[in-house]
Amino acid sequence: MALNSKVPQGPLKDKWTDYKNKINLVNPANKRHIDVIVVGTGLAGGSASATLAELGYNVKAFAYQDSPRRAHSIAAQGGINAAKNYQGDGDSTYRLFYDTVKGGDYRSREANVYRLAEVSANIIDQCVAQGVPFARDYGGLLDNRSFGGVLVSRTFYAKGQTGQQLLLGAYSAMNRQIARGKIEMFNRHEMLDVVIVDGKARGIIARNLVTGEIERHSAHAVVVASGGYGNVYFLSTNAMGSNVTAAWKIHKKGAYFANPCYTQIHPTCIPRSGDYQSKLTLMSESLRNDGRIWVPKNLEDVKLIREGKKKPTELSEDERDYYLERRYPAFGNLVPRDVASRAAKERCDAGYGVNATGEAVYLDFAASFVRYGTEQAKIKGLTNPSENEILELGREIVKAKYGNLFQMYEKIVDENPYETPMMIYPAVHYTMGGVWVDYNLMTTVPGLYCIGEANFSDHGANRLGASALMQGLADGYFVLPYTIGDYLADDIRTGKISTDTPEFDEAEKAVKDSIDFFINNKGKHSVDYYHKKLGKIMWDKCGMSRNEEGLKEAIQEISDLRKDFWTNVSVPGGANEYNEELAKAGRVADFLELGELFAKDALVREESAGGHFREEYQTPEGEAKRLKEFQFVSAWEYKGEPKDAVLHKEPLVYENIEVKERSYK
C-alpha cells in the first residue's frame, strides 16, 4: 500500500482553515447514533474524549489506571508552548513552526507542525477558561519561561506541575461528560486487541484488570492515545505501567509503525543509583533556565570529588568547564535535549563524570541565587546586603519557581540542592516515533486513529521541551474532533456495530489463548527478568549513540531473548482475577517485538538525526550528520517476525522552510 499523507493543497498557512471549510460534517442528531472508543486518558485521550462527547458522540474511554486523572501526562513538569507572543519577544505561529521543525532535525511533516503551531494559542485560552491555574505575574497576566532550542519565552507553566494541571483540566472536562452519560469510563481496563470488520476498525477486546474478564466493545471508530514506548528500556522516566501494547496491537492488525528509533534521551534526570532501581526521575528542563551545567576542568578534581575529598562548591570558576556554554555560546544551557544529552555523555565518556559511577554532571544554581538575590535586595531597598542575605533572597525566588523539583531531588538523593549543585544524567524520556498517521491523524487502517505521543507525527527526530503537552492537547481538543467527523459522516446510516460476529470471536479467542499460555506456562523466570534484560540491550546498543555492529547484535539478542521468554516465562496466579504479573507479561511480550523493530529501524537509518545518533555519521566536531537521502519517514508494515517487517517511505518535502545544518552555536 502506498502511503498517502493526505496533506491538503494550498499555501501552508491556509491548509487547516481550507480543510475545515471543506470536510464533511455530521449533524447533531446523527452524532447521537455514533460510538467512538478512546484508549488512554492522558492529555490526548482525555481531551479527545471530552470534546467528542461534547460534540454529541457516544464515547467509551479506557484507562489501565484506577482513574483517568492518573495517566502519565500528569508527570510532565516544565510547561506547554504556545505562540501567544505575550512577551513581545518576536514569537509567531511561523516561528514556533520553524523552531519545531528545526528542533526535530528536519524529520517531521511540515503541514502537521504548522497546524500544531496554529492551534497552540487556543490551547492556552481553553485551559484558562477551564480554571487551570497557570503562573501569573503581579499584574495578573500570564507568565512565561524559556525552554531549550528556542530564542523566545513561549512556555506557560503551573509551577513544576504543568502536566498535572493540564491533565486535571482535561479530566474535569471528561467528568462533565461522564456525569451527562456521554462518556462511559472504563477504569482498570486494558485494550488487548483491535477488531477489524470489512477493513475498518470497529471495536476492541479489553481485559478488566480487576476481575480478569475479557470484554468486547464495538464502535464506529477507534482512537488510540496510549502514550509512548520508552519503557522498552525498562528504566525510563515513564510510569511503571506505560506500555506499547495498544499501539503494537494495532500495528499487528495493519497500522504502520513509524520511526521507532527516534527516542528522546532527556539530559536532566537523577542519575541511577543501583540495580534495584525501578524507574528514573526527571528534573524538568525548565531548570536549565536558571541552572548552569558543568564538570570539573581537571581530572584530578574529578578524582577527588568522586572520593569525597573535595566538594564541588570548593572549585573556583576557572576550575569548572561549563561545556554547553563553551560549545554552544548562542543557546548555552538551553540547547535542545538531544544536543545536551550527547554533550553530557561526551564529557562522562572522557572521564569527567562526577559521581561514583562516572555518569553524572552538575546542574548548578549558585549563579541564579546571586542574580535573583541581588535583584530582590534592590526591590526591597536593602542597602549593603551581606552575601548570605543575597543568597537567601535568591533561594526564595528559586524555591517559588522550582520548589517541588528541589524537594523531589532532596528526597531521592538525600542532598540539599540549595547548598550543593544537583547531579544529573540523561535518561530515556519520550518517543518521537510511533504509529504512522496521515494529516487526519488516521492510521493506515480506516477508522483507526492515533493521537498524542503514541503517533509519530509532529516532533521529527527530536522533540523540543514543552511541546508534548501542546501536541497532546492540540490533537485531542482541536484536530481529531474535526478530522474524525469527516470519516464518520459516512457512518450515519450504519447503526450499532454488533459484537456478535466472527471478527470479534476470532480476536477474543486470540487474546484468551495468549493469556492461557502465560498462566499455564510454568517457566523459570519472572516477567521482570526479561524486561530488565531487554532494557539493558536497548540501553547499551540502541541508546544515546548507536553503531552498525551493536545494532546487528541487538537484533539477534532481542530475537533470542524473545524465544527464551516464550519458553521460560513464569506468571503466578490465575487469569480471572487481579493479576499484575499477567498484565506485565503481555506488555513485555510486545516490547520484545518492538525492541527488535526499533534496532532494525536504527540500523537502516544510516545517518544521524536528532535523538538517533549513529557513530559512523558525525561531523568532525561530533555533531549529528544528517543526510539528504534519508529525508523520509520510515513506516514499517507488520509481516510476522520483526525481521520480516517491510519498509515504506514517506518522503518529507520542505517548501516553507530551508533545510539547513542544525546549529545552536
Binding site: 486523572r69 480554571g131 503562573a135 477504569n187 526521575t281 521482570d528
Partner: protein, 246 residues
C-alpha cells in the same frame, strides 16, 4: 538492612484478609519503599507464590496511585511524600514494618493493598469542573487578569493528587480535604464563580452519599497530605457551602 514486613493479604473484595509476615534482606537505604516491595515480590514470584498486589504507577509522587498505610501512617513516616518517594533510609536495620491498605468504608479493598477509590471520581463528576466547552472559542487567556495571590493560592489547592491519604488518616474517614481542595481551586478563580453555589452543594452531597465521614478539625489530613494541602481549604469549602445555602 534486614527487615520483617507484616503485610495485609486479601484475595479479593469478598474474601477475609489477614496480616502475613515476610522477611526481606540486603535492602539498600537508597531504595524507595516500593522498590523494597519489588524485591519482596521478585522473591515471591521466583518461589511460585503470588506477589503482593499494590497500586503504583508514576513513582515520582504525582499520579496519586500509590496508597499504603505504613506503621499506622498514610504514605509512611516521612512528610510531604507519597509512598513511592519514601526512602528506606527512614528505617533501621532489624525494623518490623506494618503495611496495610488505605482503610475507609468508601474505599473497599480490591486485593491486598489495592483499594477502590472511585468514590473520589464520582465526587468530581458531581461538580469538579467548569462548564465550558472545549471548542477553543473562549476569550483570550489574558482578557481577565487574576491576581498573582489568587492564582498561586488556587494552584496550591489544585496540587491535590487524589491519593486518599486524607481519608485513610482521618478517624472519621472524611474526604473534606480532598473536596475542599477542588472547591477552593475554582472558588478562588473568576472562572469558577458562575457555578460556585451549585458546585459546592453537589460535591458535598455526593461526598456524603459515598459514605465519607465529617470533619472534626483534628487536622491529621493536613499532616499526612503528601502535597501539603492546607486545612484552610476545608474552611473555605464550609464558607462556600454556607454562602450557597443562604
Amino acid at each position: 538492612m534486614n527487615l520483617t514486613l507484616k503485610i495485609w493479604r486479601q484475595k479479593d473484595s469478598s474474601s477475609k484478609g489477614q496480616m502475613v509476615d515476610y522477611k526481606v534482606t540486603d535492602i539498600s537505604e537508597h531504595m524507595s519503599f516500593l522498590e523494597m516491595i519489588d524485591v519482596l515480590n521478585e522473591s515471591l514470584v521466583s518461589k511460585g507464590e503470588e506477589p503482593v498486589a499494590f497500586d503504583h504507577d508514576c513513582r515520582e509522587g504525582i499520579c496519586g496511585m500509590c496508597s499504603m498505610y505504613i506503621n499506622g501512617e498514610a504514605h509512611g513516616p516521612d512528610r510531604g511524600v507519597t509512598t513511592c518517594q519514601l526512602h528506606m533510609r527512614m528505617f533501621n536495620d532489624g525494623d518490623t514494618i506494618t503495611i496495610e491498605p488505605f482503610r475507609a468504608a468508601a474505599f473497599p479493598v480490591i486485593k491486598d493493598l489495592v483499594v477502590d477509590r472511585s468514590a473520589f471520581d464520582r465526587i468530581q463528576h458531581a461538580g469538579g469542573y467548569i462548564s465550558v466547552n472545549t471548542s477553543g472559542n473562549t476569550q483570550d487567556a489574558n482578557a481577565t487578569p487574576i491576581s498573582k495571590h489568587a492564582a498561586d493560592t488556587a494552584m496550591d489547592a489544585a496540587t491535590c493528587i487524589g491519593c486518599g491519604a486524607c481519608v485513610a488518616t482521618c478517624k472519621n474517614s472524611s474526604a473534606m480535604l480532598f473536596v475542599g481542595a477542588k472547591v477552593s481551586q475554582y472558588a478562588l478563580l473568576p472562572q469558577g464563580q458562575v457555578e460556585a453555589a451549585d458546585r459546592v452543594k453537589n460535591m458535598v452531597a455526593q461526598m456524603d452519599l459515598e459514605g465519607f465521614g465529617n470533619c472534626t478539625n483534628t487536622g491529621a489530613c493536613e499532616v499526612e497530605c503528601p502535597k501539603g494541602i492546607s486545612l484552610d481549604n476545608i474552611a473555605r469549602m464550609n464558607r462556600e457551602l454556607m454562602k450557597a445555602s443562604i
